[in-house]
Amino acid sequence: MLKDITIGQYFPGDTIIHKLDPRIKIIIIALFITSLFFINTFFPYVFILIFILLAIRLSKVPVKIVLKGLKPLFFIIFITFAINVFMTKGEVLFQIGPLTVTKEGISQAVFMALRLIFLITGTSLLTLTTSPISLTDGIEKLLSPFKKIGLPAHELAMMMTIALRFIPTLLEETDKIMKAQMARGADFESGNILNRAKNLVPLLVPLFINAFRRADELATAMEARCYRGGDNRTRLNELKLKRHDIIALVSTTFFFAFIISIRYIW
């Protein structure tokens, strides 16, 4: 059961979007988010929509999977929508009890909801097309200029890698301990929240103890393999910017500059 869980939501593929340098992808997403917040009319959304559809098309990720990323956040989108509908003042359309619905409210609500939807689909497209490893690599490389001011870029990336590596191992272990405790009559499924939380203790204590033991052994093994921090370390797959990375970066920069400028031109 727990074994089937995949880490992140990477959708493997061999498309141009998948092959883009992770650093470039992260920068593009940052530009994308920034320009989304500069948009203040409906009109530029057309370009954003075209951009997202084009990216989805190029990445060959099924639209259904991209939309699935919206599901857990549906509630937040709904709340945002409702608050905007009822709280914006303006030309009253109709009233439901104490709540008034205005024309401006509806337009504002649709606007905000669209912004959220674009935000989520854009970012999930990044995680869908970039494996967790190259994502960590990208983050490490992007953060490395900040090493000078004391930001531990390599250590952060190493921590993320180890966390990703041990998630399935610890899930498996949780499953094992749960079964062992259930065989001894532990009950994880009934009672109120407080009782359930209490019942988790016999699961969490061995899990934590084991995690600490694992950490100790892993640290020893890493030392035995000459790990001594990020200095002078080389990589098997060095990130190298290729022609298509530069093209993608330059063209999207122009595109987002155009989107942002719409706000000031019109």
Binding site: I133, I162, P168, L218, T220, A221, E223, R225, C226
Partner: protein, 278 residues
């Protein structure tokens, strides 16, 4: 310095400081061992005999309380040499899960050479070579948690191999594996010794694994109590048993047969040998 000596252990004592307790736990007492280049050395002993401590002493993970350890002439106490020592004497641990760092097999094998600061092209060569030796090439893009225990342990071995060590220390590498995994790992270890000419120090409590060794040391309470070739050791069935260890099943059978008055050669180690003899 003698070039034929891989690891030289000179009169070493190691004490663990346990908090809150009077006195120290002495894990290793006045031990001296020479590990020869190219040799397949097995260290036997039951739990708490100090054999894992000895393994960690051999590549500088622990520093002796008294005495000196030299790996290819480098003292493990010398902090400037510690990384060279760990490059020369690689170490494989018991639990394969807790020594794999990366989320993809080949990335993990590359971890050691990456730490050594080797150029990417050379890392690629070493990784491919190491995976070929342990016969895991076809799994190089797999996630480690989906592999079997034996496969994971072979990946861990490849990770050490990629660092290009002259000597590999195995600390009970098969203790957590199923019988199939154990055979896979043992075959790999034999191959490393015979084909790749690596010096092997294998720490174990499985007698059947010790049969393959060039030399066996039996440890008890931090001291070496028996030393010799497998035949010399397992001949002494009674003494081995007194130390709380087993002898290989075949040897035990021969021992019992001889006790019953059947006159056969006493230093039999494998089933094939006995079959041929009978």
């Amino acid at each position: 310095m003698d070039n034929d000596i891989m690891i030289k252990i000179e009169d070493v004592t190691y004490e663990y400081n346990s908090i809150g307790e009077e006195g120290q736990l002495r894990a290793i007492r006045n031990l001296s061992i020479d590990v020869k280049r190219g040799e397949f050395l097995v260290i036997l002993g039951h739990n708490g005999s100090g054999k894992s401590t000895l393994a960690k002493l051999m590549n500088g993970l622990l520093i002796p309380t008294k005495g000196d350890i030299y790996v290819m002439g480098m003292n493990t106490k010398d902090e400037n040499k510690i990384w060279n020592i760990r490059e020369k004497a690689g170490m494989v641990f018991q639990n394969p899960d807790n020594q794999i760092v990366a989320t993809i097999v080949e990335e993990d094998v590359a971890f050691g050479p990456e730490n050594q600061g080797i150029p990417p092209a050379e890392i690629r060569k070493r990784v491919d070579e190491a995976l070929r030796i342990v016969e895991m090439t076809e799994y190089k893009r797999h996630a480690p948690h989906l592999l079997s225990g034996g496969q994971k342990q072979r990946v861990a071995i490849a990770g050490i191999l990629a660092m290009n060590p002259d000597c590999i220390i195995f600390d009970e590498p098969t203790a957590m594996l199923d019988p199939t995994g154990r055979i896979e790992v043992m075959n790999t270890i034999k191959k490393l010794n015979k084909v790749e000419e690596k010096t092997i120090v294998l720490i174990t409590h499985y007698m059947d694994e010790a049969v393959e060794a060039d030399r066996i040391l039996v440890m008890e309470q931090g001291e070496i109590v028996m030393a010799g070739t497998p035949r010399e050791i397992f001949k002494q069935v009674k003494k081995v048993k007194e130390l709380g260890l087993d002898v290989p099943q075949v040897t035990e059978l021969v021992y019992e047969l001889r006790k019953e008055g059947i006159d056969i050669q006493e230093d039999i180690l494998t089933v094939e040998e006995l079959v041929r003899l009978l």
